[in-house]
Amino acid sequence: MHALALLAASVTIIGAIMVITRKVAVHAVLYLVVTLLALAALLVMLGASFAAMLEIIIYAGAIMVLFVFVIMMLNLGQSDSAREKEWLRPRAWLGPGILAAIVCAELLYCISPFSGSLPTIPPITAHDVGLSLFGRYVLMVELVSFLLLSGLISAFHIGRNWMEDR
């Protein structure tokens, strides 16, 4: 089990290093998705399954889709056909593919039942998190709602000016 954790940690670090060294933004997004998936595997190993699911759904899903949208809208660099040729070259997707295959193999290995002893400490479930979140920390939830609202308004404001300029 520890070897699996080390594997996921190394995939995380390699992916992060690849993110900050890429030239093309779409390649960096691919590596960032793999990094977040490996980080979600690490969170599962830490016993935080709920956090791992949220990491996959919100981070690797929603936020990365935002990044891809904006990169597509910016349309930087070469013309379209040259860019598509660039994307379809194996060099573009081989690195993220290999790292994602490692994470996927880890997942398939973890699905098979373990023969070892079960952990004695009960894991922290979503039930505990919810009780704590809406019990002691309900003020933090209100503050986060303010933060989300202000982020929504500022993003809308910035985008509205941009659309009027066009």
């Binding site: 089990m1 520890h2 699996l4 954790a5 940690a9 995380t12 670090i13 992060a16 290093i17 993110v19 900050i20 890429r22 933004a25 960096a28 997004v29 960032l32 990094t35 977040l36 980080l39 690490l42 969170l43 190993m45 830490l46 016993g47 935080a48 709920f50 956090a51 949220l54 919100i58 981070y59 929603a62 936020i63 935002l66 990044f67 904006v70 990169i71 910016l74 930087l76 952990p119 400490i121 922290i124 998190v129 009780l131 704590s132 979140l133 933090m140 986060v144 933060l147 989300l148 202000s150 982020g151 929504l152 500022s154 993003a155 910035i158 985008g159 000016n161 941009w162 300029d165 066009r166």
Partner: protein, 103 residues
């Protein structure tokens, strides 16, 4: 006992944070700077979840949720600013060219 000791979690988060910080300092493309910021936020969230697993407390995951919301807001506003700067006809996304805000 969790599969990943707390010391290793802190070590991994430190390395991840350093990589993100290096990305923010080295890269000048604003999209890459935003991605590096996300890596740094993930490292901070990993420390919270690791500490929550170490002391068996749900507060770590609560803080993880809050960091997730913060990262979502930060990414949305940052990408909106990038789109706005790009719509003004800048040829590059170099962060150093954005020091003059003339509306």
């Amino acid at each position: 006992m969790p599969a990943f000791p707390f010391n290793d979690t802190v070590l991994l988060a430190t390395v991840l944070f350093s990589v993100g910080l290096t990305g923010v300092l080295v890269r000048r493309n604003m999209v890459f700077m935003l991605m590096s910021l996300d890596i740094m936020l993930n490292a901070a969230a990993l420390v919270f979840v690791g500490a929550g697993a170490r002391w068996h407390d749900a507060v770590g995951q609560v803080m993880f949720l809050l960091i997730l919301a913060l990262a979502a807001v930060e990414t949305a506003v940052g990408l909106a600013i990038i789109l706005r700067l790009h719509a003004q006809g800048r040829p590059t996304l170099d962060a150093d060219t954005g020091n003059l805000l003339q509306g």
